[in-house]
């Protein structure tokens, strides 16, 4: 496979086809139409054909087919060649009505290996030296550079203030709609109490240390969001747990807001790429 040199005829044909595909897909914005459907089918066909080819050339051929001549011939004996083929072909019993359960055997082998590996995966992700749980053992007090502390304090305070404002706006809105006054829930008292404790305990802290706002917020979020994802009724008996769960839901929403923002960037990037392609490569507006 040599790298091909650019050839104007082929390049032009490629660009023309590419532009046609792009425009056909964009026509969907006007309404769903026949041209769009035609190109969509081609798209699915190409994707499937590609996957089949690459699976053969990169996996089945080198790891299975090429080995049939090796049986007993070299030290890298792979005696299960035939057996493996049989197990692999069991997949295709899915197409039969009465023997479909046989296709559960390869699925079972794959699922079983995944299930067995989950222990190692949990260890590797959560409990090694820099694991997720291990790294959540955060000190709530640290000695830090005062300037940085002030900065993070500013941010934490702005965000908490924004949260409180949002909550009161919500109360006001509900009052408008329902005509009733709702008392502040336990969750707001919990959040306020937590902030108050942190602020009031400031003078009690030994010299040279400050509250690690970020760490405190991280631990608070971890605990509250975990409480939200508890489903057993017994775990919700406690009012504190219920409050923590509601607060957890709010914190989770902030996290989803972040996802929302970055998703917008992702979607726009794709469109920008199309604009680049059409304007620069196809129309040469450069």
């Amino acid at each position: 496979m040599e790298t091909l040199t650019a050839d104007p005829v082929w390049t032009r044909a490629g660009l023309l086809l590419g532009a046609a595909c792009t425009l056909a897909m964009f026509s969907f914005l006007w309404r769903e139409n026949a041209v769009y459907r035609f190109f969509e089918h081609i798209f699915v066909g190409l994707g499937m054909g590609y996957t089949v080819a690459i699976t053969w050339t990169n996996v089945l051929k080198p790891h299975w087919w090429d080995k049939r001549i090796w049986v007993g011939a070299s030290e890298e004996v792979f005696p299960f060649w035939g057996l493996l083929g049989i197990v692999g072909l069991l997949w295709y019993f899915q197409l039969s009505k009465n023997r479909a359960w046989l296709s559960r055997i390869p699925i079972g082998i794959l699922m079983g290996s995944g299930a067995g590996l989950i222990f190692r995966r949990i260890y590797g992700l959560f409990f090694t030296r820099d694991g997720q749980v291990t790294q959540s053992f955060l000190p709530l007090l640290v000695s830090v550079d005062p300037a940085a502390a002030v900065r993070s304090w500013n941010l934490a305070l702005s965000v908490s203030a924004a949260g409180l404002l949002a909550f009161y706006a919500h109360l006001l809105l509900r009052r408008f709609r329902r005509g009733t006054d709702l008392p502040a829930g336990i969750e707001i008292r919990l959040a306020g109490g937590f902030l108050l404790i942190l602020i009031c305990s400031a003078p009690l802290i030994p010299r040279g240390l400050v509250i690690a706002w970020d760490n405190s917020l991280i631990v608070l979020t971890l605990v509250c969001v975990l409480c939200y994802f508890l489903f057993w009724q017994e775990a919700r008996r406690n009012r504190l747990a219920t409050g923590a769960a509601t607060l957890g839901k709010w914190l989770l929403m902030i996290s989803f807001g972040a996802t929302f923002g970055s998703t917008v960037m992702a979607r726009l990037s794709l469109l920008i790429n199309r604009a680049q392609y059409l304007l620069e490569q196809c129309l040469h507006l450069e």
Partner: protein, 267 residues
């Protein structure tokens, strides 16, 4: 390959024992009660609203085929919606993106209508297998929603980028919308545009609640305990870390405990 420290093995086996014990307890018939899930209770409300307006209800199960856990959980929710619809005599439209899901859903719906004593209300032409192609499926569903002016829409299952197309269509016609998905990066879009959203694992909890499958219910409780154990671990760990910071460099014993917690990993 290095060996994992004994503390981690111990912790993992404790977590597994939690799960095993509760799965078997639940299979033995020990009752398990789950907390209130707001989105689940809204099913009756949403179908009721559609009935009042005299408009049909739409349900869709997402992109994944039958072997995905998420789709199975969605089908469990569909059985509930179907039952409520049969009770209220409201028309139910289902759109699907996988052929194997289609056969299962068709049989299930027919059976539920029969069980509720209204087999004549079941209409096979209201269960659509649209396309396995993401955008055809999405635009097909959105088209049906607009043509039929559905009063309530349920999006349960695994969704990808088409979440927005679906929920925007529902918004346009003023349908009450309930979504449930485990695709965490689609949740924000559902939250922004639907009336109720079941977040992540809530879908599995809902499915366990609706199917009353003891293995699922038991493992939910086991998972709760496992998560709670980890919560305690994190709290203890950060309390120790704080203590170490307060005591300063002389706090050898705190550091030793912290290090011992996960087999030298946490130093």
């Amino acid at each position: 390959m290095t060996d994992p420290p004994i503390q981690v093995l111990l912790l993992l086996s404790i977590l597994s024992v939690f799960l095993l014990v509760f799965i078997f307890l639940a299979r033995r018939g020990v009752p398990v009660r789950l907390r209130r899930i707001a989105g689940l209770e809204s099913i009756d409300e949403a179908v009721g609203r559609a009935t009042e307006l005299g408009r049909p209800v739409l349900f869709t199960t997402g992109l994944e085929p039958l072997n995905s856990v998420t789709t199975l959980a969605a089908i469990a929710a569909l059985t509930r919606v179907c039952r409520v619809c049969a009770k209220y005599e409201t028309r139910l439209i289902v759109t699907l993106a996988e052929a194997d899901v289609y056969t299962l859903v068709k049989d299930a719906c027919q059976q539920i209508y029969a069980e509720e004593g209204k087999p004549e209300l079941y209409r096979e032409e209201d269960i659509h297998f649209l396309s396995t192609m993401q955008f055809s499926y999405a635009s097909g569903t959105a088209g049906i929603m607009q043509r039929e002016q559905v009063g309530a829409a349920f999006f349960f299952g695994a969704f990808a980028a088409e979440s927005l197309i679906l929920s925007e269509a529902g918004n346009q016609i003023g349908a009450i919308q309930v979504a449930a998905t485990t695709s965490s990066y689609q949740i924000p879009f559902f939250v922004a545009s639907c009336d109720y959203t079941l977040i992540g694992e809530e879908l599995f909890a809902a499915s366990a609640y609706l199917t009353r499958d003891p293995a699922q219910l038991g493992s939910l409780v086991g998972q709760d305990l496992a998560k709670f154990a980890i919560l305690l671990l994190v709290t203890a760990g950060s309390a120790l870390a704080t203590l170490a910071a307060v005591l300063g460099p002389e706090s050898h014993w705190v550091k030793a405990v912290l290090a011992g917690l996960l087999g030298g990993a946490a130093s």
